[in-house]
């Protein structure tokens, strides 16, 4: 029963909101989360839980697939380093509140030391450890090799390399031109733009959360929830036909999930208005087009005028930075918005123009 509960919980419809809430709690109570006590307790709880998870045949077989090993390492690393970063930030923030300044800025840490041997040896140790780790990894786990390439028969599911599975998961909600081209392009462009948008002079060179709450919240949400979480879903929870399977669920080929999705235009013209779809494509999709444009064009100025946060931000960074930032945030948020619309209304496309290959 517990397993079934986990299966149910891990469905993105439930787990995505859960993860979002967890993310909010984590940042809100980062000092608790970043404490060593919390870490010890978590590990203490996680060890038997993991053991119980591993005892399940289906879970174990998914986890131990050779190509999934790196994702597990990634998970462990991300979990640890997230905790570690927040731990460090919590320590620094406490010090800053006390007026002491960050640890990294203490005189003993600003003292200059010789590169040889301090740095060189540190690096050498890291290299040796890394080499040893890689060798052990290579010996214990064979690199994956499946049957010879056969262009006439596709495995089901056909998955992209794991680091792109976040993008492939987005394909459920977006057309390839958005999920595969526009959004990744914006991720790269947005990342490069970060230093030019973030004008906050504080927090340069040391761990802190309080001094850069908004920047870190935005970045971590993108990184942890919209990237790492989606990869986990894509790797572990998507089976044949990209159908959702819980962690303890057997990948039954015949599993069917009811998924008949409807376009916004169909909802409005047929369901609500009860008349057929207009012939003219633009007229047909006019509601979706207006909505999408409004989302991008109206929200930023309204936000800057109507809300305190928006006003401050606009004042702090100036118009250009503000609009670029808002654009990026809106594009980021389009994914969760699209997810929620899909789950709540079975909405397929807001703008459905397959004739022009332009679906939103």
């Amino acid at each position: 029963m517990l397993r079934e509960l986990f299966n149910k919980l891990s469905d993105p419809i439930i787990s995505f909101p859960l993860v979002t809430i967890g993310f909010y709690l984590m940042l809100k109570h980062y000092k608790t989360f970043g404490s060593k006590k919390f870490a010890y307790w978590t590990v203490a709880i996680l060890i038997p839980v993991t053991a119980w998870f591993l005892s399940d045949h289906n879970f174990f077989s998914i986890i131990s697939t050779p190509d999934n090993i790196p994702i597990i390492i990634l998970l462990v690393c991300v979990a640890f380093f997230t905790w570690f970063a927040l731990h460090k930030a919590a320590l620094n923030d406490t010090r800053i509140e006390e007026g002491l300044g960050p640890i990294e800025a203490t005189p003993e840490n600003r003292e200059k030391v010789w590169s040889w041997p301090n740095l060189v040896y540190t690096e050498l140790f890291a290299m040796i450890a890394c080499t040893a780790f890689l060798v052990v990894w290579a010996i214990v786990f064979k690199a994956p090799l499946e049957e010879s390439a056969n262009p006439t028969w596709a495995p089901n599911p056909a998955k992209a390399p794991w680091y792109f599975l976040g993008l492939q998961e987005m394909l459920v909600y977006f057309d390839p031109w958005m999920a595969g081209v526009v959004l990744p392009g914006l991720i790269v462009a947005g990342l490069i733009a970060i230093p030019y948008i973030d004008t906050n002079p504080k927090g340069n060179g040391y761990f802190t959360l309080k001094e850069r709450a908004m920047a870190i919240t935005a970045f971590l949400y993108g990184w942890l929830v919209l990237w790492v979480y989606l990869i986990i879903v894509g790797v572990f929870l998507r089976g044949p036909n990209w159908t959702f399977y819980g962690p303890f669920e057997y990948w039954d080929f015949h599993k069917v999930v009811a998924s008949f999705n409807v376009n916004l235009s169909e909802i409005i013209w047929i369901k609500t208005l009860g008349i057929g779809l207009p012939k003219n494509l633009v007229v047909r999709e006019i509601f979706g087009i207006i909505l999408s444009l409004a989302y991008i064009v109206i929200i930023p100025p309204w936000f800057a005028k109507a809300t305190r946060v928006g006003r401050n931000l606009f004042k702090d960074v100036g118009a250009i930075r503000y609009y670029i930032f808002m654009f990026l945030i809106l594009m980021t948020m389009s994914l969760p918005i699209k997810m929620i619309l899909r789950w709540l209304f079975s909405l397929k496309y807001i703008v459905a123009l397959p004739e022009w290959e332009l679906n939103l």
Binding site: D252, H254, K255, V256, V257, A258, S259, F260, V262, E266, W269, I270, K271, G274, I275, G276, L277, S346
Partner: protein
């Protein structure tokens, strides 16, 4: 200069800029040059030209098509269209109403589709859950799910019903609308139908426009988007290029320039725009060798993957004239570093051999077949291995095992020394008196060798006593018999030159000077029963009467060669003999011990030893049966892969006038093999031993084609012509037929029938042509016939001989004919005649009305028969063949005297009164009638 010089500057800025400008200009020019060099290609110009040619053809087609259209009719249609539009316009309101209905229905339809889609998904999901619960034996859950499922399913069913209802309504409304528009729709369709062809042609013509879009598509840099001018390719997976480490599928770009090679209608264009001349056999979509499957270089050779220019693909001119022309037109040069240049046009058939390796004669490959026949004639295969098709053949020369009983030793020596001095048509080649062995010291050795050979051969010869006595006869009569019974199918004969030259028979020797050669008794007994002298001879018995045999012998003996009779051959030069023996022996020993060894031998031993060695040296045993040479291989090099032999491995000696090409060497070699020794100082034993056949250039060229076809190319199994079991048996049979020269007389399935050329006036007087013979005659009958030949066509002078066939050969022949014609082994011919009511009477009526007995008179009246005895037909012929034959004899044997009673299509009887003029019924009845004749 110095006034505006900056400190710490080696050069002034303006100078640097100037140099920069100059170098950049050079850089720019080279870039542009490279760009143009990459873009401008000769084949592009050719494709543009081909586009114009195509346009011209389309315009002609268009004119023809426009002429075909009845303009009045079109006009009338247009008028009725206008009328129809008026009528429809008057119904505007109705139509609008219906269209509004349609819209409403479609909206509902769409809504229902969505609903059903949701239902479908829900039902499937619920069903899966229910099944899972059932499997897990969770009764409570499954019961609950089942209840839900039932509800969903009911909803889904209702939805589906509603959908069908709506679809029905939609259809009804659509029909109504179409009905309201019918005046317009019908006429529009008719107009469209009449103008389809023109519209399509217009479209095609548009594609040949040299419009701005055409220019843009082929613009440099963006000509990757969707160019119209592009390299066209054929990838042939079943034929490979040998890259030595690997066999790589062939790729041919030839059609890049030969644009219309597979399209009929361009036969009269200049090259490279001409259609392939044999479209029904090659290249054409419907042919046996479609372009996409066979490609071009598989047959023609050359470098299919190259498109740079005319030379890069290794085009080869067929003649000096063409060479001159190409040099002028295309700047043609000899191909370099290309192992297999294109086959010259006249040698193209060499390309067939690559895939059709096992068959004897290949239908349609005239040059190749004639080349193979020449090889058969001269017996090249006896000394050289030439592929699998030439394996296991008879020895081309006569057996010498009983030679002493046939010709005398003196004649033998003079013959061997120079066969042509006795018979200018001799197939026996000349080993001596050639350009490389005519030096006095070589002649002395050669004559010694000939003496020794004769001694050896006669020493081993068994005694032979003829079994007939010559009683003399009428020479004139003999000559007539020779010309009539079919001797000319194998032999040319002095005095019958006119016919002989027409037939060009080659299986047997040209008969000349026999009076100077053989004894009369020998000749008669040979004519009566050839196997008495030589058990394995292919010379058949013509079942000659004593008188006939004596008449023929008289004629043949009257042919004498006085000059040859006068020849005497110098006796054995013992010194030369010993020198030669010492030479042989010193190959593995010192000169002194060789001398000692020879000295120990007796005189006779020496002569016989030299005789045997000389026979081995010249390979006489390859062509003639000789004692002491069992299991010896032919002395010539293996020619199975000669067509791929690198040109550098051909020794051209000092023959600079022979072009350095594979085919030129082979042709030159065949015509005068001794030429390579000319001007070269060689010792006696190293002289080129290939004899001179004195063949004509034409023959040499044909043989060259065959040899060129013997390449090392590995063709994957899928690409080879693999004979099915029937074809394989047929090929075997044709090998036997080739051995006994059946096709010297019979034309078999369209091939050869040499002697028919002497019957051009009336082909029906010649030996019967065999078409699908295995289908025509019953296998048992054929077997019996080979053993006991009985005349079927008594009015013919020419005779089917009685061959000395072995049991195996007989079986091969009958099996080959039978399976080659696709006849099953155990098929019982429908011998039981089972008459339908009234059928027999009808058959009798037809028999009379078609007047069969007027030709098939045997057994019916005393008239001279002009056609075979039908009483024997049931034993001989297959009923299904009789039916086929009756329906249209001309289709099987063009020019036959058998009339076609059922028209060209075999469906229109000349006597329509019987069986309501149903041809099939008439033919069936007649067939039964004929079979019944044999039963009585």
């Amino acid at each position: 200069m110095s006034e505006n010089k900056e400190p710490a500057m080696a050069y002034s800025m303006p100078k640097l800029h100037k140099i920069m400008a100059i170098l950049s200009f050079i850089f720019f020019v080279t870039t542009v040059w490279m760009f143009l060099d990459d873009y401008i290609k000769p084949w592009k110009a050719i494709q543009v030209e081909s586009l114009q040619i195509k346009r011209r053809h389309i315009e002609n087609d268009l004119k023809a098509a426009q002429k075909k259209i009845d303009s009045h009719k079109l006009q009338a249609l247009n008028v009725s269209l206008a009328k129809g539009e008026e009528i429809v316009a008057s119904r505007k309101k109705e139509i609008e109403k219906e269209e509004a209905d349609l819209k409403a229905i479609r909206a509902k339809l769409k809504a229902q589709t969505i609903k059903n889609g949701i239902f479908n998904g829900d039902v499937s999901e619920k069903n899966f859950k229910y099944e899972t619960a059932m499997v897990e034996e969770n009764q409570k859950l499954s019961a609950k799910l089942l209840a839900e499922l039932e509800v969903l399913k009911a909803g889904f069913e209702a939805g589906k019903d509603n959908l069908k209802l709506l679809q029905g309504q939609e259809k009804a409304v659509l029909t109504k609308i179409a009905d309201l528009n019918k005046e317009v729709i019908g006429v529009q369709k008719e107009i469209k139908d009449t103008t389809t062809k023109i519209n399509l042609l217009d479209l095609a013509k548009k594609q040949t426009d040299l419009s701005p879009i055409f220019a843009i598509r082929n613009l440099p840099l963006i000509d990757y988007l969707d160019p119209t001018i592009k390299i066209q390719k054929i990838v042939i997976n079943n034929v490979t290029d040998d890259r030595y480490f690997r066999q790589v599928p062939k790729v041919d770009f030839c059609i890049t320039c030969h644009t219309f090679i597979d399209q009929p209608g361009y036969e009269k264009e200049k090259q490279p725009f001409r259609t392939h001349p044999k479209l029904d056999l090659m290249v054409g979509m419907e042919s046996k060798h479609p372009m996409k499957l066979t490609g071009c270089t598989s047959c023609h050779g050359g470098e299919g993957q190259r498109v740079t220019d005319f030379n890069s693909v290794a085009h080869m001119p067929d003649s000096e004239k063409q060479k001159e022309e190409w040099i002028k037109k295309y700047n043609w040069t000899e191909p370099h570093h290309i192992p297999s240049p294109m086959l010259k046009l006249s040698q193209t058939e060499a390309g067939c051999v690559k895939c059709h390796s096992d068959v004897q004669l290949l239908k349609g490959a005239t040059v190749l077949n004639e080349g193979r026949m020449a090889i058969e004639k001269y017996g090249c295969y006896a000394c050289h291995k030439i592929g699998t098709w030439a394996e296991n053949r008879r020895k081309p020369g006569p057996s010498l095992l009983k030679i002493a009983g046939k010709v005398d030793k003196e004649w033998f020596k003079s013959w061997v020394w120079e066969p042509r001095s006795f018979n200018k048509h001799s197939k026996m080649p000349a080993f001596f008196r050639q350009s490389n062995n005519s030096k006095p010291e070589f002649v002395r050795y050669n004559m010694t060798e000939v003496n020794a050979i004769a001694e050896y051969v006669y020493d081993k010869s068994k005694p032979y006593v003829p079994n007939e006595k010559y009683r003399s006869g009428n020479a004139e009569n003999g000559k007539k018999i020779i010309s009539q019974v079919g001797c000319l199918g194998c032999h040319g004969v002095d005095g019958l030159e006119e016919q002989s030259d027409k037939v060009k028979a080659y299986a047997g020797p040209w008969l000349t000077g026999l009076g100077s050669k053989v004894q009369a008794d020998w000749l008669v007994s040979w004519l009566k029963k050839p196997s008495h002298y030589q058990e394995d001879t292919i010379m058949p018995s013509m079942r000659l009467s004593d008188q006939e045999a004596n008449d023929i012998a008289t004629y043949l003996l009257s042919l004498r060669n006085k000059t040859f009779e006068a020849l005497t051959f110098t006796g054995l030069d013992k010194a030369a003999r010993d020198e030669l023996l010492v030479d042989y022996n010193s190959a593995f020993d010192t000169h002194d011990s060789a001398v000692a060894k020879v000295a120990k031998m007796s005189d006779r031993e020496k002569t016989l030893d030299l005789g045997k060695r000389s026979i081995g040296k010249y390979g006489c045993y390859s062509c003639h049966n000789l004692e002491g040479f069992d299991g010896f291989e032919g002395i010539g090099p293996n020619l199975t892969k000669e067509g791929s032999k690198p040109i550098t491995q051909f020794g051209f000696g000092l023959q600079h006038q022979v072009p350095h090409e594979r085919d030129a060497w082979i042709t030159a070699h065949l015509q005068r093999p001794s030429r390579w020794d000319e001007g070269v100082d060689k010792v006696f034993k190293d002289l080129n031993k290939m004899p001179n056949f004195y063949m004509s250039e034409a023959e040499a060229k044909k043989i060259t084609t065959v040899i060129l076809g013997q390449t090392a190319d590995v063709v994957p199994l899928a690409g080879l012509k693999r004979a099915n079991s029937g074809e394989a048996l047929y090929n075997e049979a044709m090998k036997v037929a080739g051995k006994y020269n059946c096709m010297g007389c019979h034309q078999i399935d369209g091939l050869r029938g040499d002697i028919l050329k002497a019957y051009q006036d009336d082909i029906n007087q010649g030996p019967p042509r065999l078409v699908n013979e295995g289908h025509r005659v019953q296998t048992d009958w054929l077997y019996h016939f080979f053993g006991n030949v009985q005349p079927i066509r008594p009015w013919l002078n020419i005779r089917m001989p009685s061959f000395n066939l072995s049991l195996e050969e007989k079986n091969k022949l009958i099996a080959g004919f039978q399976h080659g014609a696709g006849q099953k082994t155990f098929e019982e011919p429908e011998m039981e005649v089972d008459w339908q009511p009234g059928e027999k009477e009808g058959a009798q009526k037809l028999w009379n009305s078609y007047n069969c007995v007027s030709c098939h008179s045997i057994g019916f009246n005393k008239d001279t028969p002009l056609a075979p005895n039908l009483h024997l037909a049931s034993k001989r012929l297959r009923p299904s063949w009789i039916r086929k034959w009756l329906s249209n004899p001309q289709a099987i044997l063009p020019g036959t005297v058998m009339p076609s009673f059922f028209g060209e299509d075999g469906k229109t009887p000349t006597d329509p009164s019987v069986f309501e003029g149903n041809a099939d019924k008439q033919i069936a009845a007649l067939t039964k009638f004929v079979i019944e004749l044999g039963k009585k």
